[in-house]
C-alpha cells in the first residue's frame, strides 16, 4: 500500500469500517440456491459420488452378509474334526525315548470330554518287504503290494465315520485281547479278491493270518485307509511295536461347535503330565475363515469403489470449476456488494461439500437397499456394519470438500473489475 510521504500509518487505530459479515445461515441459503438453480446439473455432478459411496456400502454389506452365510454352511460339515499330532515322536530319541506318546487308554480319556462323539489313535504301520495277500505263502511281487497296513483303536475307526459294506467293525473286545482281526477297505478287498465275509476269509500279513470281520465302502476322514488293512492298535503294537516312520495321530469326531474347545482340551486329557508332546489341530476357525473370505472378495470391489470415488471427485471439481467460470459475473457482483474473498471461497466450498454429502446420502441409501434386496432374494440374513454404513455419507462430503478446494480458491482470486466488465 502506497502512502504519501511525511505520513506514517499508526500502529493501532480504531476500525474505520466494520468488516463485511456473512452469517452461517445466509451462507447455507446462498449455497443451496446455487445448487438448486441447476438441478439437473447438480444431479449429474453427484452421480460419481453416488456410485462410489453406493458401491462402497454395497460391497462391504454384501461381503459381510455373504461371509456370514459362508461361515454357517462351512461349520455344518467341516467343523467337527480335530486331529492331535504326536510332536514328541518327531523329536530326537534322547528327548523322548519312546516314539509313541499316546496312553493306552486314549479312547476312554477322549470319550470323557464333553462334545466328543468318537475318538481314538491310529497310525500307519510301516513294514518293509511286507507281503499282504489273501492266501498264505504268496510271492512278494503281488498286485496287492500297494495295499497299506493301518493300526487303529476302535474309537479311531469309529471317528473315521466309515460306511460298513458288510460285516462289522472290530471293537474294544478285539483290541483288549489283541485279536488277529482286521477291517478291509472296499478297494483293498477287491484287490485281494475278497468279496464276502460270511465264509470268514483271512488276510495274511507276512504269513500271519488276520480274520476279516468287516469291509468298509467309504469313510468321512482318512480316505487312505480304504486302500488298506486296518488292524486293532494293540495287535499292531504287539506284533510290530510302536509306529516308526509315521507317528501316531489321534482322530476326534466332535459335536457341532465343540471342535475349538476339544482341540484345547485334548492334549491335556491325553497327557496331563506332558501335554506339550501332543499338538491339536482344530478345523479352521469360522471367524478367521470368514475374515479371510471377506478380505479376498472385498479387496477387488473396494478398489472399484475407490475408483468411483475418484471419478466422483473429478466430476465435482470439474463442474464446480465450470460453475465458477460461468458465474464470474455473479462473483464480481458479490465482491462489489461487499463480499470478501473468503465469503466467495466458503460459498463455493459449501456448494461442493453439500453436493458431495447429498451424493453420499443417496449412495448410502442405494447401497443399503442393494444389500437388503440381495439378502431377501437369497433368503439370507442381511448384515450391515454400522461402523461402515454411518460414516459413508461423510466420505461423500469429504470428497466434495476436497474437490471444491481448487475451484473455490480460484473463484476468490477473480478480480471484481474484470468480472463486472463482462
Amino acid at each position: 500500500m502506497s502512502l504519501p510521504p511525511g505520513r506514517t500509518r499508526p500502529l493501532r487505530r480504531p476500525r474505520l469500517v466494520a468488516p463485511s459479515r456473512l452469517s452461517w445461515r445466509d451462507l447455507a441459503d446462498e449455497s443451496l440456491a446455487g445448487i438448486l438453480q441447476r438441478p439437473a446439473r447438480s444431479v449429474l455432478t453427484m452421480l460419481g459420488t453416488v456410485l462410489g459411496v453406493g458401491a462402497f456400502v454395497a460391497v462391504l454389506g454384501l461381503t459381510s452378509t455373504a461371509t456370514g452365510q459362508i461361515g454357517k454352511s462351512f461349520s455344518l460339515l467341516q467343523d467337527t474334526t480335530v486331529t492331535v499330532n504326536d510332536v514328541g515322536a518327531q523329536q530326537p530319541p534322547d528327548v523322548t525315548p519312546a516314539g509313541f506318546d499316546f496312553p493306552n487308554d486314549s479312547d476312554a480319556r477322549l470319550d470323557r470330554l464333553n462334545g466328543v462323539i468318537a475318538a481314538g489313535v491310529w497310525w500307519s504301520v510301516q513294514l518293509p518287504e511286507a507281503t499282504i495277500s489273501a492266501t498264505p505263502l504268496s510271492t512278494p511281487d503281488d498286485a496287492s503290494s500297494s495295499i497299506g497296513l493301518f493300526a487303529a483303536t476302535p474309537g479311531a475307526l469309529a471317528a473315521m465315520q466309515p460306511t460298513v459294506q458288510s460285516g462289522v467293525l472290530f471293537n474294544s473286545f478285539h483290541n483288549s485281547r489283541s485279536e488277529q482281526v482286521c477291517v478291509l477297505g472296499a478297494p483293498a478287498a477287491r484287490l485281494l479278491g475278497i468279496t464276502r465275509i460270511d465264509d470268514q476269509p483271512a488276510v495274511f500279513i507276512n504269513d500271519i493270518a488276520y480274520t476279516v470281520v468287516g469291509i468298509i465302502s467309504d469313510t468321512r476322514s482318512l480316505p487312505q485307509t480304504l486302500l488298506g488293512v486296518i488292524i486293532p492298535s494293540s495287535t499292531a503294537l504287539k506284533a510290530y511295536g510302536p509306529p516308526t516312520n509315521s507317528p501316531a495321530q489321534a482322530l476326534i469326531h466332535t459335536q457341532l461347535g465343540a471342535a475349538q474347545l476339544i482341540a484345547a482340551q485334548a492334549p491335556l486329557a491325553l497327557r496331563p503330565d506332558q501335554p506339550q508332546l501332543l499338538q491339536a489341530v482344530p478345523p479352521p476357525d469360522p471367524t478367521s475363515l470368514r475374515n479371510a473370505v471377506s478380505t479376498d472378495l472385498s479387496g477387488l470391489f473396494l478398489t472399484l469403489a475407490g475408483i468411483c470415488l475418484v471419478i466422483g471427485a473429478v466430476g465435482i471439481a470439474n463442474t464446480t470449476l465450470v460453475a465458477v467460470m460461468e458465474r464470474t459475473g455473479e462473483i464480481g457482483l458479490r465482491r462489489a456488494l461487499g463480499a470478501r474473498p473468503r465469503h466467495i471461497t466458503l460459498q463455493f466450498l459449501t456448494e461442493s461439500t453439500t453436493l458431495g454429502l447429498l451424493g453420499g446420502l443417496i449412495g448410502t441409501s442405494i447401497g443399503v437397499t442393494t444389500v437388503i434386496a440381495t439378502a431377501l432374494d437369497r433368503h439370507w440374513t442381511a448384515i450391515l456394519n454400522p461402523a461402515t454404513v454411518l460414516p459413508a455419507p461423510l466420505i461423500g462430503a469429504l470428497i466434495g470438500l476436497l474437490a471444491g478446494l481448487y475451484p473455490a480458491l480460484r473463484a476468490a482470486r477473480i478480480e471484481p473489475l474484470d468480472a463486472l466488465r463482462r
Binding site: 504519501p4 500509518r9 474505520l16 469500517v17 445466509d26 455473479e330 458479490r334 462489489a336 463486472l420
Partner: protein, 240 residues
C-alpha cells in the same frame, strides 16, 4: 479520532493528484494525475470514448482498484489507510453500483436480487426483505417483487439493479453505462428514475460515452487519453 461520518461537510469523493499506471514495459498511464471533488448531492457525468480512462476512474471511485499515486478520500476517509477487508466493507456500505449488463442473478426473484445488496452488510433477514421491498417500490416495481429477471423487460431489469444499489442507502450511486443495453425510450425513463433519486439527495456519478446522457447531469467532466477536464455547465448545454 473523530468518527469520519460525523464530518458533515466532507465531500463524498475527493481525488487529489490521483493517477493510475500499469507497470511493465512500456508503462501504461491509464490515468494522469487528476483532481476531482464530488460534493454530497452532486450529479456528475463522466464521458469519453472507449479506452480514454473512464473505466479506470470508475474502478478507483468504486474502490475496485487502488491508485498508483495521489490521495483519495471517500466521505472523509483516506482509503489508502484501509486494509483490504475494510475497503471491501466500505464498498459494500457506502457505494451503490449500477452496471451496463445489470448483473442480476437469473434464478432469483427481483426481491431476492435486491436483498442480495445487503447480504454482506446486514445479518437480519427480515430487515433485508423489508428494505428490498421498500427499494423496489421506490423504483416503481412494487408490483413485480416476485418476478424472475427473465420475465422482466430491459428497463425493469435495470430498475431492479438500481433498487439493489439503493437498498443500502449508499452515499454514492456509481452508474457504469446504465443505459448501454437499453433502447432510447427505456434509457430516458431509467435516466428519469436516476434523476428523481438525485433530487431526493442521492449523490450520483454516471459514466457514459453517450453525450446525450452526459448532458443531463449537473456537472460534466470529459476524459480523453487519461486527462480529465471539467466542462463548464453552459458549454455542455451548448454542445447538445
Amino acid at each position: 479520532m473523530t468518527p469520519p461520518r460525523t464530518v458533515v461537510a466532507a465531500p463524498v469523493a475527493a481525488l487529489h493528484q490521483v493517477s493510475k499506471s500499469y507497470p511493465g514495459p512500456p508503462d501504461v498511464h491509464a490515468l494522469h494525475p487528476v483532481d476531482l471533488t464530488v460534493e454530497p448531492g452532486d450529479y456528475l457525468a463522466v464521458s469519453g470514448p472507449s479506452g480514454s480512462g473512464k473505466s479506470t476512474l470508475l474502478n478507483l471511485l468504486g474502490l475496485l482498484d487502488r491508485p498508483s499515486s495521489g490521495t483519495f478520500h471517500l466521505s472523509g476517509i483516506d482509503v489508502a489507510t484501509l486494509t483490504e477487508a475494510e475497503r471491501t466493507a466500505l464498498r459494500g456500505h457506502r457505494i451503490g453500483f449500477v452496471f451496463q449488463s445489470f448483473h442480476l442473478l437469473a434464478y432469483r426473484t427481483a426481491l431476492e436480487n435486491v436483498a442480495l445488496g445487503q447480504l454482506y452488510v446486514s445479518t437480519s433477514r427480515r430487515a433485508r426483505r423489508t428494505a428490498a421491498h421498500e427499494a423496489l417500490r421506490r423504483v416503481g416495481l412494487g408490483h413485480r417483487v416476485h418476478a424472475l429477471p427473465t420475465t422482466l423487460s430491459g428497463g425493469e431489469r435495470q430498475r431492479v439493479a438500481i433498487a439493489r444499489a439503493l437498498v443500502n442507502s449508499p452515499e454514492l450511486l456509481l452508474c457504469d453505462e446504465p443505459t448501454g443495453n437499453l433502447d432510447s425510450t427505456t434509457a430516458a425513463s431509467v435516466m428519469d428514475l436516476i434523476e428523481e433519486l438525485h433530487t431526493t439527495g442521492v449523490t450520483v456519478i454516471v459514466i457514459t460515452h453517450d453525450p446525450l446522457i452526459a448532458a443531463r447531469a449537473d456537472r460534466h467532466v470529459s476524459i480523453f487519453d487519461g486527462h480529465l477536464d471539467e466542462l463548464p455547465l453552459h458549454a455542455v448545454r451548448e454542445t447538445v
